[in-house]
Structures are given as structure tokens and as C-alpha cells.
């Protein structure tokens, strides 16, 4: 059945190519229907774990080439929420593509992304995983930059890092194949575990190849620069997919391969240095996650582009999840997965809200916006709830997942990691508040006077996402119960949870009570708002320039927008500590290009040179053959 779903995806994608350009939205309707059907089947499989499918296509050259799928609890969980969220995005996209002269190829390649999504999450061996992984990379390459010169540079970063990651992953798979003569994931990590005591250097190398492969995809340090480029330049609705879903593939890979490996090592500690109950390797990776989240937070604070800001926020959230997962306790892993899912939900909501803003205003720079809350109330509310969730404020789902992460870190006695996470979590307030205020609150520029709320079809996914954020925040058990079955599949203790109460070793929290408290205080504040003095509308120029006409000084209204250079003093504080990673990559690229140019130029140097090199090489070869035996 999995194979049929994948095949039908491919077929429908080709079918959608025949839709004429005028009826572009019809392609998106097809896409939504496909997603809905897939979702239905996924829902049917919610209890049929460890069902596997194998497609033996060809047996060539003494090899059985087959695609193997298995429904694991982890894969099912990931695929279910990714498909669900993609379905919501696709509804948004239908309306977005109605009038617009949009690209044929976006929806075409998005089909392949969904196909590869299902393939990755249900892959039972490395070969299947890798094939769908590559399919995902290639098709996303064409979606991020569907024929715009501007996004070319951004997609270059993305593509180089992705192919580099895939290169390392393929290398690791090759080494494992050499050892086990099979592509099975399970035998891969058990072999690698035994190799740790036989040949530590090689095994560390293989592990590092996998880490690089997965970490490039999930944009952890030092690969953290591509989301800010790619998410910002991609089509708006696709940014939601990129940020909410695609960035999770790397984390899924970690959970699929590295976590079982480290759990094995943790249970047989004779093979590895253990610190604080977890292997050193894993500990380092947690720190990588924490550092990523801190750095990404600072970068988010600096950025003025709203999509870039949200992208950096994504990187920070991935950092929390990574930190938590590599704690390797059952609370840590549960918190990590929970964080992944909640982040997917609220980041989709935020990006859809931003896409709605851009749909109406065609602006991305925050200081050109402002005061849209009255014009676009639903979008505003979505964004508001989204950032509340992102900041981890109680009634929303972000609170629940962050609570889990803190509990896991504290109960595992990692005070410094906790501080790092707390730091970046606090930083999240700074940039999220700024985004909210500068886009939706404050003064409305004159040119946006006739901006309307987005059409109803676009509002539907926003309503659903709002409800989802609230629901999973109040009843975290909805998500934590499936996570428990994932933990069982890892041979870990399931976390203790009811629908509305979360327990940890240190404390417990009843989120329903928290919700009621918060809504009560909100109602109180709202009443105060209603009975207070009516507000007075002041033009910004009145406020700042005391009524003078600023045009005489070449000043515009935008320069007085308070979102411009909002955190400038804060940025100055960190100026001396800044290391520009982008600069590093650029210089690396320059070095590679210089080397290539050196080779290329030496190729077309003069004629004598070529024969000189010929003889030189001949002499080298002769010296090898003659003297080295």
C-alpha cells in the first residue's frame, strides 16, 4: 500500500502537468486531495506498527535491488503530522495560486517532496532512505528557486550543503555496507557498535560521516546558514513547508540511526567515555544543539527581514530539540520529539501568517510594515498565538514541549545546557515581540490603507492551526501518547502522562489548570482594556518630528519606523564576538574556485609547459614503478 501511495503521487504529479496554466489552482486541488487520501491511509495504519512492505524491482548484477518500507512508531508519527500540516499548507496554496501567474513546477516538484517524505519516514534500509533523501534534495532545489535569478544564490548554499551532507551519508553507508554486506539500518548500528571496541578510529569516522549527513539537513552549527537564505527566498507557502517540515528530516535521521547507536553504547559503557550517564559523543552533540540555538537566537534578533527572522527562530528551535534528544534519557527523547512536533505546528502557523501578510502587502522588510492587526485580524491572531507558542508561554503547545526539555535537562544534571537553552528561550521573546509589534501593531503606512484580510480559503488552515496549538497545549497527552510508543520501540521507559497532566521525575504540571488560570487573567485584562480610556490616534510624524515636514531633510516615514535598527545597541554589544559564518563559507568557496582556476589555467598554459608536465609525470610514474617495490 505504501508503494501504491508513492506511485499514485508520481502519477498524479504527471497528471497535474497537463492542467492548463489558467486553471493553475486545480493542480493545487489535486495536491490537496492526494494529501487528504494519504492522511486517511496513515490514520488507518495508526495501530499496525511493524507492518513492512518490500518491492523487489530488479535482480541485477547479482544484487537484489529492492525498496523496503516498514511502519515504525517513529516514522508513523513523523509522517502523520507532516502530511497533516502539508495538507493545511496546500489549502492555503490553492487560494494563493488562483489569480497569480505562478509556476507549474512548484506543485509538480512538491508532489515528489511528499513522495520522498513518506519514503524517508517509512524506509527500512539505507538504500531506500538514501534514494528518497536525494529525491527530496533535488526536488526541493527546484521548488526553492523556481526560475528567479534572485533566489539563485540562496539555493546554491542550500544545494551545496545538502549534497555535501548526502556525500558524507553515502560514504558512511558505504562503510557500513562493507562491514555488514547489507543495507539494513539495524544491522548497521549494531555493527558500528561492535566496531567501536575493535577499531575506534574508523567507527568514530563513520559516525561522524552520519552526523555530518544529518546535521547539514537540520541546519545545526556549522551548517546553520542555509535556512536563513533558502527559507527567505523560497515561495512563501513553501517556506512554511521548509521550516515546519523539511528541516525535521535531519532530526528524524538522528532518531533513526544515531540515537539507537548511542543507546547501545550507553547500555554497554565499556566502549566509550561516559560523562554524566551519557556517552561523550552524544554529550558533544547536545552542546552543538545548545550552541546552535543560542547563536541562531542572536542572529534572529539582528535580522530585519521577517522571513529570515522566522528562519533563524527555526534553527534555534531545532537546537533545543537536538540538545534534548542527545540527552538520551526517555524524558529527553520524548521532549525532543514533542518539541519537533510542536515546532512544526507553530512554525507553520507563523509562516502562513507571514505568507498572508506578504500576499496582501508584497513586503518582507519589517520596517516597511506596521499596524496590520486591524486590517487582518485572523492573520494577526494566528501570528500572536504562534509567537506565544514559540516563546513557550503557558497555554500554548510550545510551553509543554519546553517544559519537558527543561525537566529532562535538570533531571539529567546538565545545569550549563539548561542555562544555554534558557538564554536562547529568553532571546526568543526579544525577536518575536519585535516581529509582532512591527508587523501588526504600531502605525499603518498609508499605502496599506486598502489592505484586506486574506480570503476565506486561506483563513481555514489558520483557524485549524490556532485550534491545534491551543489543543495540544492544553492536552499535551494527545501527542505524548504516540511518543510513548516511540519510546517503547527504543526500549526506553515511557513517560508518565495523562491527557492534561505531564509528570516528570522532579514535578508535574496540569496544563488544563494552567490554561484556565491564564484565560482567567486574560479575561481580567480584557475587561480592564474595555473599561479603560479610549485610545487616541497619533500620526507617527507628529510624534517624532513635531509636525515638521521631514521631506526637506530627505527623511521618509520608514526611517522613523521604530522596528528599524530596533536592537542596535544590543547588536553593538556583540560586535566584537561576531564570527561571520557566511563569510567563512564564501571564502571557502573562493578557495575552491581559486584552486579550480589554478588547475584550469595550468591546463591552458603554453605548449612547452604541457610537455614538461608530461615528462615530469612520466618520471614520477617511473620512479614509483622502478624504485618502490
Amino acid at each position: 500500500m505504501i508503494g501504491k501511495i508513492l506511485l499514485s503521487g508520481v502519477l498524479i504529479s504527471f497528471l497535474s502537468m497537463f492542467v492548463r496554466k489558467r486553471y493553475n489552482y486545480f493542480r493545487w486541488i489535486l495536491f490537496s486531495i492526494y494529501l487528504l487520501l494519504t492522511l486517511y491511509f496513515l490514520f488507518l495504519w495508526r495501530n499496525s506498527f511493524y507492518y513492512n512492505e518490500s518491492y523487489n524491482f530488479l535482480s541485477l548484477y547479482g544484487l537484489n535491488f529492492s525498496l523496503n518500507f516498514k511502519i515504525t512508531p517513529l516514522g508513523w508519527l513523523f509522517s502523520f503530522f507532516t502530511i497533516f500540516l502539508t495538507f493545511l499548507i496546500s489549502i492555503f496554496s490553492i487560494q494563493k495560486n488562483i489569480g497569480e501567474d505562478s509556476e507549474k513546477l512548484i506543485s509538480f516538484f512538491w508532489f515528489y517532496l511528499i513522495v520522498s517524505n513518506i519514503g524517508i519516514f517509512f524506509a527500512d534500509d539505507f538504500l531506500t532512505l538514501f534514494i528518497f533523501w536525494e529525491l527530496m534534495t533535488f526536488s526541493s532545489f527546484f521548488v526553492i528557486s523556481p526560475g528567479w535569478i534572485k533566489s539563485f544564490r540562496a539555493v546554491n548554499y542550500y544545494f551545496v550543503l545538502s549534497t555535501l551532507g548526502a556525500f558524507f551519508m553515502l560514504l558512511g553507508i558505504g562503510f557500513l555496507y562493507g562491514g555488514t554486506k547489507s543495507f539494513s539500518i539495524e544491522s548497521g548500528y549494531t555493527y558500528l557498535f561492535t566496531l567501536f571496541s575493535i577499531n575506534p578510529l574508523l567507527s568514530v569516522f563513520i559516525t561522524i560521516t552520519f552526523i555530518l549527513g544529518f546535521f547539514t539537513k537540520s541546519a545545526l552549527i556549522p551548517f546553520h546558514i542555509w535556512p536563513a537564505q533558502a527559507h527567505a527566498e523560497a515561495p512563501d507557502d513553501f517556506s512554511a513547508f521548509l521550516s515546519g517540515i523539511m528541516i525535521k528530516y535531519g532530526l528524524f535521521g538522528n532518531l533513526l540511526f544515531l540515537v539507537p547507536l548511542f543507546l547501545l553504547i550507553k547500555n554497554y559503557p565499556s566502549t566509550q567515555i561516559i560523562t554524566n550517564g551519557i556517552p561523550l559523543f552524544s554529550h558533544i552533540l547536545s552542546w552543538v544543539g545548545a550552541i546552535t540555538s543560542v547563536i541562531a537566537t542572536f542572529l534572529a534578533i539582528e535580522s530585519n527581514d521577517m522571513k529570515k527572522l522566522a528562519a533563524w527562530s527555526t534553527v534555534a528551535n531545532i537546537g533545543y530539540a537536538t540538545t534534548s534528544i542527545f540527552i538520551l534519557s526517555s524524558y529527553g527523547i520524548a521532549g525532543g520529539i514533542f518539541q519537533i512536533i510542536t515546532h512544526a505546528i507553530f512554525k507553520t502557523a507563523i509562516f502562513l501568517a507571514l505568507a498572508a501578510v506578504k500576499y496582501r502587502t508584497h513586503e518582507r522588510e519589517m520596517h516597511k510594515l506596521g499596524g496590520l492587526a486591524y486590517k487582518m485580524p485572523v492573520t494577526f491572531l494566528t501570528f500572536l498565538l504562534g509567537i506565544i507558542a514559540a516563546a513557550g508561554i503557558p497555554p500554548m503547545n510550545g510551553y509543554a514541549s519546553k517544559w519537558f526539555i527543561y525537566q529532562a535537562l535538570l533531571s539529567g544534571h546538565f545545569p550549563f545546557l539548561t542555562i544555554a537553552i534558557f538564554l536562547s528561550s529568553t532571546g526568543a521573546f526579544m525577536y518575536l515581540f519585535r516581529a509582532l509589534h512591527s508587523i501588526f501593531l504600531g502605525q499603518l503606512p498609508e499605502k496599506f490603507d486598502d489592505v484586506k484580510e486574506v480570503p476565506f480559503l486561506m483563513q481555514i488552515p489558520m483557524y485549524i492551526l490556532m485550534a491545534l496549538m491551543l489543543l495540544t497545549g492544553v492536552f499535551p497527552g494527545i501527542i505524548l501518547k504516540p511518543i510513548n510508543s516511540v519510546l517503547i520501540s527504543f526500549n526506553l521507559q515511557p513517560v508518565k502522562v495523562t491527557y492534561n497532566t505531564m509528570f516528570s521525575t522532579l514535578s508535574s504540571v496540569d496544563s488544563l489548570k494552567v490554561f484556565l488560570t491564564f484565560s482567567g487573567s486574560f479575561a481580567f485584562a480584557f475587561i480592564l482594556y474595555l473599561i479603560g480610556k479610549p485610545r487616541k490616534h497619533v500620526e507617527p510624524l507628529d510624534n517624532y518630528t513635531a509636525g515638521q515636514d521631514p521631506k526637506e531633510f530627505g527623511l521618509t516615514r520608514e526611517l522613523y519606523h521604530f522596528a528599524l535598527k530596533f536592537y542596535e545597541p544590543f547588536e553593538h554589544m556583540f560586535d566584537s564576538y561576531r564570527t561571520n559564518t557566511k563569510e567563512f563559507y564564501d571564502s571557502f568557496e573562493r578557495k575552491v574556485n581559486e584552486f579550480g582556476n589554478f588547475i584550469k589555467e595550468s591546463y591552458s598554459k603554453n605548449i612547452r609547459y604541457s610537455s614538461y608536465i608530461f615528462i615530469f609525470a612520466l618520471v614520477l610514474v617511473i620512479l614509483y614503478g622502478w624504485l618502490v617495490w
Partner: protein
């Protein structure tokens, strides 16, 4: 048995090359007609020979009525004849493109092309080491002429480089022949391969290394290939096709014959060498370095022709790398990659030429908006890229997969192959995707006009693409061919037997 059709494959083009010059002085069209009809004759008789090789095994053709090792002989093995058919297809495409263009030197160039055809056929069929040398010389001289047809500084410099390097290489080759003849008293490949092991220590090293050095220039391997950059960038389109497709086949076949059949020792699953030093490590170093360097050069190039040229050099090195693993899987991988490279490289040259048509500079940016200008050839270009890079189900996918697997066989020097292969795939992916991406970029400022494609280009592009697709959708057919070829390459005693009637080599 004496089966004389193979010699006609060489004799007829030579005969008609003279005739084309005679008749071409009356009318240039006659020589074009002669060119095309000779190729069609060669294809048809090639298929006849293929069938009889399938039926009867290797075919020995005796020349001058003197049996080997006394006279010169041609041996048509499965490998050579299947390579030959591939070669003829590429040649047909190139000559069709040549014919479609107006050139006032058409009679002379078609004569050169016919001799090129004859010489490459001769290289693939001959069973005599000196005869091989003569054909290689004809081949390289015609290469030089074809490169320098375009009257540009770049092409003439390239061909002069090629000339100097190949003539030094030829001198090395002749020294090798002198030594072989002085020691063994024979020039027949089968007899040399039968007795090569009896040669003394240093002489063996000498002969091996000199032969290696001499054919390195043809093989487009890194420290010896300084001619390719200028030659590819500065020559005409059909010459590019010939250089990338045909030269690769020929070089590959020379390598197989000399270094696997004559100097190598096949056992059931691998080749070994009775030389004092580790030949495989030497090959690995040279070819691996060549793959990496050429890929990097292609990555940093801006001229599309140069990119494709470097890329074809690197894929040839990759083929040689997988051949020189000497494993059965490696040889099969080499054959698979060879099939896809030989067909897809001409396709890439052809379609990139059509996409860039009308643009003054041939750099990367001339690909912008290519899809709207020329949808057909953009699609053909994409097919070519997918085939080259190793998209699933194309032959090169299977080839790279097999190479990948054979490289992991044991953790030793072969694992280095793994790194090289994966590295090359990554870089190749990157620069080809960059090109493909440019095809879809829309330049809003420029109004797009659809390019008119010549019928010949459409025909040959679709021919090549359909061959690729045929090989991809019929994997069992491809497997059959590749396995037979590999068996044939490993069957050294069969080669000797077909020539000398009995050849016992001690299978180690």
C-alpha cells in the same frame, strides 16, 4: 576460420576516403553522400559481425593469407564488436551534423572523417601491437586535424599540444615495441600476452611503464592531458562529439587490451599483475587524482564546452578507475558507466550547442531561459545529465552502484575509491544542476524567441536519447550485454586461443 567482413570495415572507409577526394573535386555533395553511406554500410556489417560473434565466438581475420603470428590479423571479440557498434552510432551522429553544415573544405574533411572511422575500427579490431601503433597514429593525426579545423588560436594551440604529447607518447610506445620484439621476437598481441610473464624483471617494468606513459595522453588522464582544455573549448560541435564519445571508446579499448589482456592475469573474479610493484595502487593514484582534478577544473570553468570537456575527461578516468580495480564488479561497473558516458556526452554537447545557439558567448549565462527558447533540447540535455550523473535506472546508476559496492569489499586502498567516487558524484551533481537550473531561470527583460532546430539535430538528439532510454528501461538486456562483455574481457585464454588456436595460460 577465415571470416573477411571485419577487414572490410577498415578497407571500405579507406577506399572511399580516396574516392571521396576524387569525386569531391567535382561536387562536394558527392563526398557527403559517400561519408554517410559508408557509415551505414559499416553499421550494417558491424551488426552482421555481432551476430556471428554471438553465434561462433571470437572471429579471426587473417590478412595477406599468413596465419598469426606470422602475419597481421584482426580479432573480433564480443567486446570489440559491441564497442564498435556504439562507436558507429556516435560517429553517425557526428557526421550527420557535419553533413548538415556548409563547409568549402567538405571533401577533404569527409575524407579525414572516413580515415578516422577506419583507424578507430582498426584500433578496436587489430591483433598486432605494431599495427595498433600505426592505427593509433592515424587516429591521433586525424584528431589533430579535426581539432584544428576551427581556425582559432585556442584550437590550434590545443592540437599542437596534442601533437607534441602524442608524439612523445608514440616514441615511448615504440621503445616498448622495440623491447618486446627484441625479447620475444614477435609482435602478435596474443603471443606477447602468452609469454609476457617470461620476461625478466626490469624489462617487464620498462615495457609496462613505457606503454602506460604512452597511452596516458590518449586516456585524458590528469598529468598527461593538458591538451583537452583548449581542444574541447576551441573545436567545432561535431569534433566535440567525436572527441568525447569516440576517443573515449578507443582509449578505453586500448587500455583494456593492453593492460588487462596483455599485461594482466585474469583469475575468476579479478585481474592480477605479475609485476614487482603494486600496479593497482599506481592506477588508483593516477586515475583517482585525475577524477578529482578534472571535476574541480570543471567546477570552476565558465565556458560550457570546457565544463563538458573536463567532465568527460573525469568520467573517462572514473571508468578507468573502476576497470583498474580488476574486480569483476568493477569491470562491469566500468562497462555500464562507459555505455552511459559514451552516449550521453555527445547528447550533452549536441543539446548544449542548440540551447546556446544565437548567443555570442558560450558561458554559463547563455543557458539562461534555455527552456523557453528551446524546450526539446532542454529536455534532451536534462536526460543527458541524468544519465551521466547516475539517476536511478540509468546504466550509469547501476555502474556507480556496483563500483560503490565493489569498493567496499575490503577496507584497504579500495575504500579510497569509495571516497573518490562519492566525491566525484557530488561535484558532478553540483555543476550539472547549476546548468540545469539556469535553463529554467526567466530573464524578464529579454523577449524570448524560439530557436529553429535543424532536422538533423533533432534526429540525432532523439536517436541518442532513445538509445539511453532503451538501455534504462531494459535493464536485463543491458545486464546481458555487460555480463558478456565482462566475461569476454576476463577470457584471456579465449582471446589467445582464437588467435593461436591453442593457448594455455596457467590460471592462478
Amino acid at each position: 576460420m577465415n571470416y573477411n567482413l571485419p577487414v572490410l570495415l577498415i578497407a571500405i572507409p579507406i577506399l572511399f576516403s580516396f574516392l571521396s577526394l576524387i569525386l569531391g573535386s567535382f561536387n562536394k555533395i558527392l563526398s557527403k553522400i559517400i561519408l554517410i553511406s559508408v557509415i551505414i554500410f559499416n553499421i550494417i556489417s558491424g551488426i552482421c559481425i555481432y551476430n556471428s560473434v554471438l553465434k561462433n565466438g571470437n572471429i579471426l581475420t587473417v590478412i595477406g593469407n599468413y596465419l598469426p603470428p606470422f602475419g597481421i590479423n584482426l580479432i573480433s571479440t564480443y567486446t570489440s564488436i559491441s564497442f564498435l557498434i556504439l562507436l558507429y552510432i556516435v560517429f553517425l551522429v557526428a557526421s550527420l551534423i557535419f553533413v548538415s553544415k556548409n563547409d568549402d573544405r567538405a571533401d577533404k574533411i569527409s575524407s579525414v572523417l572516413l580515415l578516422y572511422l577506419a583507424s578507430s575500427t582498426g584500433i578496436l579490431l587489430t591483433g598486432d601491437i605494431f599495427n595498433l601503433f600505426v592505427f593509433i597514429e592515424i587516429f591521433s593525426i586525424s584528431n589533430i586535424i579535426l581539432i584544428s579545423i576551427k581556425d582559432k588560436k585556442l584550437s590550434i594551440k590545443g592540437s599542437l599540444k596534442y601533437l607534441i604529447i602524442t608524439s612523445i607518447g608514440a616514441s615511448l610506445y615504440l621503445f616498448g615495441i622495440g623491447f618486446l620484439y627484441g625479447i620475444l621476437g614477435t609482435l602478435n598481441l596474443s603471443e606477447i600476452s602468452l609469454n609476457f610473464d617470461n620476461i625478466s624483471y626490469f624489462s617487464k617494468v620498462f615495457i609496462f611503464l613505457f606503454f602506460l606513459g604512452s597511452i596516458m595522453a590518449e586516456l585524458e588522464v590528469f598529468p598527461f592531458n593538458f591538451w583537452i582544455s583548449d581542444s574541447y573549448a576551441g573545436s567545432k560541435n561535431y569534433v566535440n562529439i567525436l572527441l568525447s564519445g569516440l576517443s573515449s571508446i578507443v582509449a578505453l579499448y586500448i587500455f583494456i587490451r593492453l593492460f588487462l589482456t596483455v599485461f594482466g592475469y585474469p583469475t575468476f573474479i579479478s585481474f592480477s599483475y605479475s609485476l614487482p610493484f603494486n600496479v593497482k595502487t599506481l592506477f588508483l593514484t593516477i586515475f583517482g587524482l585525475s577524477v578529482i582534478v578534472n571535476e574541480l577544473a570543471a567546477l570552476s570553468s565558465k565556458n560550457v564546452k570546457r565544463i563538458l570537456g573536463f567532465s568527460s575527461a573525469s568520467s573517462l578516468s572514473l571508468i578507468l578507475l573502476s576497470l583498474s580495480t580488476g574486480l569483476k564488479n568493477g569491470v562491469m561497473a566500468a562497462m555500464l558507466i562507459a555505455i552511459s558516458v559514451i552516449i550521453s556526452k555527445p547528447l550533452l554537447f549536441l543539446s548544449s550547442h542548440q540551447i546556446m545557439k544565437g548567443k555570442g558567448e558560450k558561458n554559463l549565462n547563455s543557458f539562461i531561459d534555455g527552456f523557453r527558447r528551446n524546450p526539446l533540447f532542454s529536455i534532451l540535455f536534462i536526460i543527458g545529465v541524468f544519465t551521466l550523473v547516475g539517476f536511478p535506472l540509468t546504466p550509469s546508476f547501476w555502474g556507480k552502484f556496483l563500483l560503490f559496492i565493489s569498493a567496499t569489499e575490503k577496507i584497504s586502498y579500495t575504500t579510497l575509491i569509495l571516497v573518490i567516487v562519492v566525491f566525484s558524484i557530488t561535484i558532478e551533481l553540483f555543476y550539472y544542476f547549476r546548468l540545469m537550473h539556469k535553463l529554467f531561470i526567466k530573464d524578464e527583460n529579454i523577449k524570448v524567441e524560439k530557436t529553429k532546430n535543424n532536422f538533423v539535430y533533432i534526429f540525432s538528439g532523439i536517436l541518442l536519447a532513445s538509445i539511453i532510454i532503451f538501455f534504462s528501461v531494459k535493464p536485463y538486456f543491458t545486464q546481458n550485454i555487460v555480463e558478456k562483455t565482462t566475461e569476454d574481457i576476463f577470457d584471456k585464454s579465449g582471446y589467445i586461443k582464437s588467435c593461436l588456436k591453442s593457448g594455455e595460460i596457467d590460471d592462478r
